[in-house]
Symmetry: C2
Subunit: 320 residues, 2 copies
């Protein structure tokens, strides 16, 4: 029997769902008439901004931490992140009663550092470069023997994020399509596998900032093209696809809809004003794509699910 | 057989629920661990901020408009309001294809006026006094023959708001208590009737701004005491109880928890930051009460529902 072609499958996603039961929220899937009207079709908004720690990242982190054996767990977990993965891993580790060591750039906002520390993790500051983050994380692993948990290029993370797709199709089974923001592609690839397994005809779209459009360029080129010098307000979507997420996206995603920062902020504000949901810029990219002319011109898409990926925003610094 | 003692009952609320089916949202009931921890018990947040027009008011308005006979309906509806009732009545009228005439004070924020006009209603400006609002509304009724729809002191409005209580107890049947903000008391009285009918042992609490505490003073005095010169950021809760809502509240509410504006804004911000919900000041008063020491000191309240009544906020003028 040949090996499974991808890093996760329906079976591993279903197992992840059982591990998440009781730990993660089954988030609401809501409609907002004003936004559906603007989109020209019925949109279903998956509220991962209301997931624990305010982002879908808690799903993958929890699944991955659950799968550590006791010996690994005793040595704790390590990552480098200034974003939602840091908080997610911190809480997932605390829930299992183990240590989390989070390497964060020294210029990360203090609110983000505080949030991670509130979840009981150790924060290790480093210079704000990728090289410094990686060498610092390696030193922490050396010191602690902890397990490095990648934010997306990890089979258990992908399976964990895929549970979001299972939920959406359980909540509204007859969707014609899903629109999912893409950064590293952990959420998008997990949802692709879950949704396509449950509904082979469902159409899958990625939503991406035009200032960090490596998924769009990769899909156009037919090969993984890393992101260089990204520039977008959607600070959760700066990263490149990984070698585990890319093949899944390549094979399942019909198109990548890119949107500029102006469209992202407009979608964000629309979600706040009309859907009454606090969504961060990255989390609004799917709605921005659904409102884009290129997506609106597609036919036979009456019922569309859109993932609101996160809601961690500094309320004292809003982009309007 | 003696007449029913109150303006509504379980039967009229169930009929309202059927009329609202398909027109109003069945809003989510969500949990937020961070807020529950601060409250010292498990809170269930009823998201009426995600109701159509962004507030529970759409329930009562829709039920009342549905009950007009064709002749009445043809002459339209009239009210005076600068708040959520205005938008709710405007949309409920549009859904039935009839006219709505809304008297608004000339100093009402232009965004509120625009929202009502977007729902297709005619806005009639008047001097910003209660006397001017009433005489202007009377003139509109004279001119149009329309039906005046009171925002709360109306049996069909009370029954409509009561559907929110039915939903909460369908979503989580074993709640120990409910906390509901009170202004005129339409929502509170409707929920009292629905919840007590479904669960005779449920404990019912009102949450009220200390700067508009007529319900607290009325309950203490055992008689309806109108509100004079209210002063609070919770601009949806300025009004006095009505003669239809007061007896229901008097007989069913265990206590009124009053909270000051500082506590209201803190609860509002907590809802935005941690529950990721856009809630207006009036809508956060229930959570402010649940976080108040007097409420926290009560025993045997493990599972508590709290209604977030609305989410209509000017995002350019936040109170922090």
């Amino acid at each position: 029997m040949p090996p499974a072609p991808y890093a996760a499958d329906l079976e591993s996603i279903r197992q992840a769902e059982q591990r998440l039961s009781g730990a993660a929220h089954r988030t609401p899937l809501v409609q907002c008439q004003a936004i559906s009207q603007r989109a020209g079709r019925s949109l279903w908004l998956k509220c991962e901004n209301q997931q624990k720690v305010g982002a879908f990242k808690f799903r993958g982190a929890t699944n991955t931490v659950s799968l550590l054996d006791d010996e690994q767990a005793a040595r704790g977990v390590v990552t480098h992140s200034s974003g939602n993965h840091a908080q997610a891993l911190a809480l997932a580790a605390r829930n299992r009663g183990i240590a989390a060591h989070i390497v964060m750039p020294s210029n990360a906002p203090s609110v983000k550092r505080q949030a991670v520390e509130e979840y009981g993790a150790e924060v290790i500051a480093c210079e704000p470069t990728l090289a410094a983050r990686e060498t610092t994380a390696e030193a922490v692993i050396e010191r602690t023997g902890g397990t490095f948990i990648h934010p997306y290029n990890n089979p258990h993370v992908i399976a964990g994020q895929g549970t979001c797709g299972l939920e959406i199709l359980e909540q509204v089974p007859d969707l014609d399509a899903l629109v999912v923001p893409v950064g590293g592609g952990g959420l998008l690839s997990g949802i692709c596998l879950a949704a396509r397994a449950l509904n082979p005809r469902i159409r899958l779209f990625a939503a991406e900032p035009s200032g960090a459009d490596d998924a769009a360029r990769s899909l156009a080129a037919g090969q993984l093209i890393p992101q260089e010098n990204p520039s977008t307000i959607a600070d959760g979507l700066l990263t490149s696809l990984g070698d585990l997420t890319w093949p899944i996206i390549r094979d399942h995603v019909e198109a990548v809809i890119t949107v500029d920062d102006e469209a992202i902020v407009a979608a964000m504000r629309l979600l706040w004003e009309r859907a009454k949901l606090v969504v961060e810029p990255s989390g609004a990219v799917g709605v921005a794509a659904a409102l884009d002319n290129r997506f609106q011109s597609l036919t036979d898409l009456n019922q569309v699910g859109v993932v609101l990926t996160g809601g961690n925003v500094n309320l004292d610094q809003l982009p309007w």
